[in-house]
């Protein structure tokens, strides 16, 4: 028994150690690849003139799809922002997903909408579309508003928007996201600059909490004042600029955020659109699109650009944060389970041999191992088996590496265009990086465990209320879908 315990401790110690080493090596590689990707993008952006694109009649048209459920607080300004995007050929499709507030009434009033006969083709199955509206005012000719029965998910509303989309590319976003006016002209570039067909592209999403927003337009970018959004800002910078840029470089992306993504409509339709039963519908769609392309033996790419083009509000309270993160983990587990045939399957090349295994081993499994490690550590302390100098060295090892990677991400953020005017905002972020492993990371792990528990037990998530500050003050809304990043 004693020997068994000894070997269990020995194996576990070494397994955890080498697991950590592999994660760290992968992060170091991500840092290198992201640097190369960002450098390449910046060279092209700086030295190649793209201004002429704005007047080119040959650019592909883009449909901007924004589902709206009980967005009465932000709908007017949100739609104005979308209609103000700079691009020669686009339409804005707002899908009113059975709102119970005055979202539709506000749209009708603000944009002089009238019901029209519209050739809506339900290629993707959704809850019924009841009416389609267009504006009597030529200034809003680009706007289409679809009124449909509530589908209890953003996926259902997005699919309705895709059904109505007239153009070969579409952008999926949220009405309460603030998009940069050059979003479309920048995000279309991967689609026209690559020789291989690009089926989806994403950009960096930032956090709008504490930013100065006026009439739906971003006036001043500021670092969040509250601790929870502040840590999330760090996390977003690390995830987008380090993680996704690196995966984009090796064509291994598995996720284009629901808050902002541009897609090839034809491939989305062939892949079956968003899955309304999925809690991580954005990741699940990309996975399915990639699997489809592999199954059809077609070459493709999924790309990210290191441009901050979208600002979204993130949970500022623990309750809402908890629900979001639990749902994300459940969505991740769901997606990995649905597409389990891909894992270690050489038919799917980098998706099967690298991306999926990475997400299984280092994104899904990590919180479980970490929790196991903490429990084991506590047991070692209680049983008096801890070697404190070694333990402290290992703690320092993990902590210092984690902080280093985060600070490097902040540097990448600075290089891609200093978003914060004041130096102190940047150093506030850096200070938060020191505290993150002790304060924020345990929360993420805990809610990830919760998400896995919900997934394994099949427990449904309660939606409840979500409080958003919005652009004009606080408003509470019952929501049945949030942006999944």
């Amino acid at each position: 028994m004693e020997q068994l315990r000894y070997w269990a401790v020995f194996v576990f110690n070494y397994a955890v150690y080498y697991y950590s080493v592999v994660i760290m090596i992968s992060y170091a590689l991500l840092a290198v690849f992201s640097m190369l990707a960002i450098r390449k993008y910046r060279q092209r952006d700086r030295f190649i003139n793209h201004n002429f694109l704005l007047s080119s009649p040959h650019l592909p048209g883009i449909s901007v799809i924004a589902p709206a459920y009980n967005e009465g607080g932000v709908i007017r300004n949100g739609v104005h922002t979308l209609l103000s995007l700079s691009y020669p050929k686009f339409e804005v499709i707002i899908v009113n997903d059975g709102s119970t507030d005055d979202t539709l009434e506000q749209l009708v009033e603000e944009y002089e909408l009238t019901e029209v006969d519209y050739a809506y083709h339900a290629q993707l199955v959704t809850r019924p579309v009841q009416r389609v509206f267009k504006s009597r005012n030529p200034a809003y000719a680009r706007l289409v508003v679809i009124d449909k029965e509530n589908g209890r998910s953003k996926a259902d509303a997005s699919n309705a928007g895709i059904n109505a989309a007239a153009y070969p590319l579409f952008v999926c976003t949220d009405v309460d996201c603030i998009l940069h006016k050059d979003t479309l002209i920048k995000m279309v570039r991967p689609f026209i600059e690559e020789k291989t067909r690009v089926i989806a592209a994403g950009a960096v999403i930032r956090i709008s909490n504490s930013c100065e927003v006026r009439n739906g337009y971003m006036k001043k970018v500021k670092v969040p004042n509250q601790y929870l959004p502040l840590f999330q800002e760090l996390e977003y910078i690390r995830a987008f600029l380090l993680g996704r840029m690196a995966w984009s470089r090796i064509n291994g992306l598995m996720l284009v955020s629901g808050g902002l993504g541009m897609f090839d409509k034809e491939i989305v339709l062939k892949a079956g659109g968003y899955d309304h039963a999925s809690l991580g519908e954005d990741m699940e769609l990309i996975s399915r699109m990639r699997v489809y392309m592999h199954d059809q033996k077609l070459k493709y790419k999924v790309r990210y650009i290191p441009e901050s083009l979208c600002w979204t509000e993130v949970p500022a309270t623990l309750n809402v944060f908890a629900r979001q993160r639990t749902r994300w983990t459940k969505g991740l587990a769901q997606t990995l389970w649905i597409h389990k045939k891909v894992i270690f399957n050489p038919k799917y090349k980098i998706l099967g041999l690298l991306t999926f295994p990475y997400w299984v081993l280092f994104e899904w499994l990590a919180p479980l191992l970490e929790f196991g490690g903490i429990v084991f550590f506590i047991w070692l302390i209680v049983s008096g088996q801890i070697n404190w100098p070694y333990a402290l060295v290992l703690l320092l090892f993990v902590y210092s590496f984690s902080v280093m990677i985060t600070i490097i991400s902040v540097l990448w953020d600075e290089i891609t265009g200093m978003k914060y005017e004041r130096k102190r905002d940047v150093f506030k972020l850096c200070l938060a990086a020191l505290a993150e492993p002790f304060i924020y990371h345990p929360l993420v792990v805990f809610f990830a465990l919760r998400g896995n528990f919900f997934f394994l037990t099949g427990k449904k998530l309660q939606w409840g209320e979500m409080t958003r500050t919005g652009f004009g003050g606080e408003h509470k809304k019952k929501t049945n879908h949030e942006t999944v990043n």
Partner: protein, 371 residues
């Protein structure tokens, strides 16, 4: 602490931790210095811009030509600009940027003055130096400056870059040659072997529009190119210049193996509006892919040749495919209302989907924007 007694993995962990701490401190320093550097550079650029614009506005741009500027004033101004140019790299690059910007946005006397100033300040040498740079994006920048300054004397260097190994440099050289090489601006269409992306094609289309070409070639001669991307570019150019004499070759292109080329060719035939082409499109319709069939229907709606209306109606009534239905309805809508009333069955005898698309295109609000 006896580190030598520690297990290897602990020593490795300690070493990595130390390295990570050093890298973190170094990165923080880089973040701070980067900020300081960027702010300083922005400040210097603004100072440079203010100083240069003051000098140009006061001493150069108020005259009709360089010859009108008094010798003393001209020399003083050139000495001042020269000293600004030699002040620092930022000043020099700003001067180049401003002069190139002026040249791009002005013509006539100001353009001539700007050119003369550019030459006298020996800024041309810096631009030519960029053309010889080992770094691809500097070569691209140099080509842009040469093009925008209309520097015809650099044409040999530009032609050499038309054979560069980097495709972005080559395309920038082609763009410059469109401006500078009046004898054979489209020579690149015979030499480029690599596939040009859609971006490259749009870039060249834009350059063609801005080039002020004295002679526009017959782009149909490039429709036989083995490089499909050049065929696509030629098709866009044929449409842009409305070259009706390309029609026979365009119709022959409807047999091309590349679906994208056939698609583009169908679009161009629609734009050119030839009635014979409309009949040819009907001939190839049955053999085409679904998307190309939809495109053919759209083209027929653009050409509006009355004998084709029956065909469009037939497709509208017989198809179950919504995309084809919608394209046929859109095409029918382009014809006269009397013809539609005469040829179309009574709306009540149509399927729900058919009625829906007809109403869609009859709705005036759907005519705007995308629908």
């Amino acid at each position: 602490m006896q580190f030598s007694n520690y297990p290897v993995i602990i020593l490795v962990a300690l070493a990595v931790a130390m390295l990570a701490i050093l890298i973190t401190i170094g990165t923080l320093a880089v973040i701070y210095l980067h900020r300081v550097y960027i702010r300083m550079r922005q400040k210097k650029q603004q100072e440079a811009e203010d100083a240069i614009l003051d000098e140009l506005n006061e001493h150069v741009l108020s005259y009709d030509s360089v010859k009108d500027i008094p010798e003393k004033e001209l020399n003083a101004m050139l000495r001042k600009l020269d000293s600004l140019k030699n002040h620092s790299l930022i000043y020099r690059n700003t001067l180049v940027r401003i002069l190139v910007g002026f040249r791009l946005n002005f013509s006539g006397k100001i353009a001539r003055i700007v050119n003369a100033t550019f030459t006298r300040l020996k800024l041309r040498e810096f631009t030519l130096g960029k053309l010889k740079s080992a770094v691809w994006f500097l070569r691209v920048q140099g080509l842009k400056e040469v093009q925008e300054m209309h520097d015809g004397h650099s044409i040999r260097l530009v032609m050499a870059l038309a054979n560069d190994r980097n495709v972005d440099v080559r395309v920038s050289a082609y763009s410059a040659l469109l401006q500078l090489n009046q004898k054979n601006p489209f020579g690149f269409m015979e030499q480029e072997c690599e596939e040009l992306t859609r971006w490259h094609q749009l870039f060249l289309l834009d350059a063609v529009q801005k080039a002020n070409l004295k002679v526009v070639p017959d782009f149909k001669s490039y429709l036989g190119s083995g490089n499909d991307s050049l065929v696509l570019l030629s098709l866009k150019l044929i449409a842009q210049y409305n070259q009706l004499n390309a029609l026979p070759k365009l119709m022959a292109l409807l047999q091309h193996a590349n679906e994208a080329i056939r698609h583009e060719g169908i679009g161009v035939l629609g734009q050119l509006g030839d009635e014979e082409a409309a009949l040819r499109l009907i001939e190839v319709y049955p053999k085409e892919t679904r998307d190309n069939r939809a495109h053919i229907l759209t083209a027929l709606g653009t050409i509006r040749h009355p004998p084709t209306f029956d065909f469009i109606v037939d497709q509208f009534l017989s198809t179950d495919d919504f995309i084809l239905l919608k394209s046929a309805a859109a095409a029918m809508n382009g014809f006269q209302a009397e013809l539609r009333a005469e040829k179309l069955p009574d709306t009540l005898r149509l399927r729900h989907e058919q009625q829906l698309v007809i109403r869609h295109f009859e709705e005036p609000l759907n005519q705007y924007g995308a629908a």
